[in-house]
């Protein structure tokens, strides 16, 4: 798992996370964390400082506060001030790791595998398949399809797609999402055909449509 440690002093928490095989990237403050989260797709952030300030910078990345000394009041305060989780020195190594893993699972968009009928998207393996056959999509196209599939057939706003896939706010008038959806749509048409299409909701966004026959034929 990719973990961002923001202003966390070296010690027990970081040792536990790295020894468990997590990729921990240590940064000094929220500004640096924002840049790092964008380049490394951090799944969880831990900090010893103000969780609300960090959350504002990181958007959907869940934030845990680390208290180097065991403190029930400190944990309560951290949660009250916006942290998604509070970890403290009174917790055993296993509890710390499980709490971090649970936090990652609860994060929006965290599902590594999403299915829509015969379509399967596996973020960890970096692949998209239709009835087990691998689709030749770019990483960006897979990410767009992942977001559409995750919505379960509901329309996903273009701004939301841009934020989830590109990691930034979409500037008004920017056609990046449309260009990428068009390419994805063309590839789906070539590789899958009519059973899986992307419908346009004019002025709103896009939704994935998987034909009922394709789903029942599973």
């Amino acid at each position: 798992m990719q973990i961002l440690a923001v202003g966390v002093a070296p010690g027990r928490l970081l040792d536990s996370l790295t020894s468990a095989g997590h990729a921990v990237r240590a940064v000094a403050g929220p500004g640096e964390a924002e840049l790092a989260a964008r380049s490394s797709r951090a799944e969880v952030a831990v900090t010893e400082h103000d969780p609300a300030a960090l959350k504002r910078r990181l958007g959907t990345v869940p934030v845990a506060v680390w208290l180097p000394t065991a403190s029930s009041d400190g944990a309560a305060e951290a949660l009250a001030s916006g942290a998604d989780e509070a970890l403290h020195a009174g917790m055993g190594r296993r509890e710390l790791l499980e709490r971090v893993a649970a936090l990652a699972r609860r994060a929006p968009g965290a599902e590594a595998v999403v299915e829509a009928g015969p379509l399967r998207l596996d973020r960890d393996r970096g692949e998209a398949t239709w009835r087990g056959r691998r689709l030749a999509l770019t990483a960006r196209e897979r990410d767009v399809l992942h977001e559409l599939a995750r919505a379960g057939g509901a329309t996903v706003r273009r701004e939301h797609l841009y934020r989830s896939v590109w990691g930034y706010a979409m500037a008004r008038g920017d056609r990046t999402v449309d260009v990428n959806v068009k390419r994805l749509r063309d590839k789906l048409a070539a590789e899958v055909g009519a059973p899986a299409t992307i419908a346009t909701e004019p002025g709103v966004g896009y939704r994935l449509v998987v034909a009922a026959e394709a789903v029942t034929a599973l």
Binding site: W166, Y168, A169, A171, D174, R175, D178, V179, N180
Partner: protein, 206 residues
């Protein structure tokens, strides 16, 4: 250098008409490039070719100025107009080139709107430059360019504002599109400068 005493005024008219056509064609191709990005059917080389043609026409006008004893309008007005039309094509070329330099991979609605204004403005400029023999339709074309430049200003301001509406817009998006919006605005402004130059000639000679 020997000055020719036999006036070749028609050559000036033909050269300005050709310069107008080159500017309009460069704008038309650039609009297609901005609309079709990233799968453009028009390469920047075609716009560059028109810019080179424009340079050649400008040089020809200057050469004619230096060799003709009699010119159809004041020398400084001819010089100013030739330079102004040359600037239009230069700025269009610059904007078109930025699409490749910045590796822009998707259109922006506001840039397409600017390009449409630019196509219309260069169309009117072509009309104004084609009217230098008798000035027929020149005033209408000049007024139309002024109106289009006002539209262009409004679109450019809105375009730049759109990059700053959300503080979380990517710096990459902001840098490249701000430069492109400004380049397109310079091209539209240059049409108005050229229209003023035509207007001066009309006032003195009509």
């Amino acid at each position: 250098m020997r000055l020719a005493l036999v006036p070749r005024t028609t050559a000036f008219y033909d050269l300005f008409a050709a310069a107008g056509r080159a500017a309009h064609e460069a704008a038309r191709l650039t609009e297609i490039r901005f609309r079709e990005v990233p799968d453009q059917t028009v390469a920047h080389a075609r716009v560059k070719q028109l810019e080179t043609e424009g340079d050649t026409i400008t040089r020809d006008i200057f050469e004619l100025l230096n060799t003709q004893y009699v010119t159809p309008f004041d020398r400084e007005d001819i010089y100013g107009l030739a330079k102004a039309v040359d600037d239009v094509v230069d700025f269009i070329d610059e904007a078109s080139d930025l699409l490749d330099i910045y590796k822009i991979d998707a259109p922006m609605d506001q840039a397409i709107a600017q390009c449409r204004v630019l196509v219309d403005a260069t169309g009117e400029l072509e009309r104004a430059l084609g009217s230098l023999r008798n000035f027929k339709g020149a005033q209408e074309a000049i007024l139309a360019i002024k109106r289009l430049e006002d539209d262009g200003d409004r679109i450019s301001r809105d375009a730049i504002a759109s990059l700053f509406e959300d503080e979380d817009v990517s710096p990459r998006t902001m840098i490249r599109w701000k430069d492109v919006f400004e380049a397109l605005e310079r091209a539209i402004d240059a049409c108005e400068t050229a229209a003023h130059a035509v207007g001066n000639i009309v006032v003195k000679n009509a």
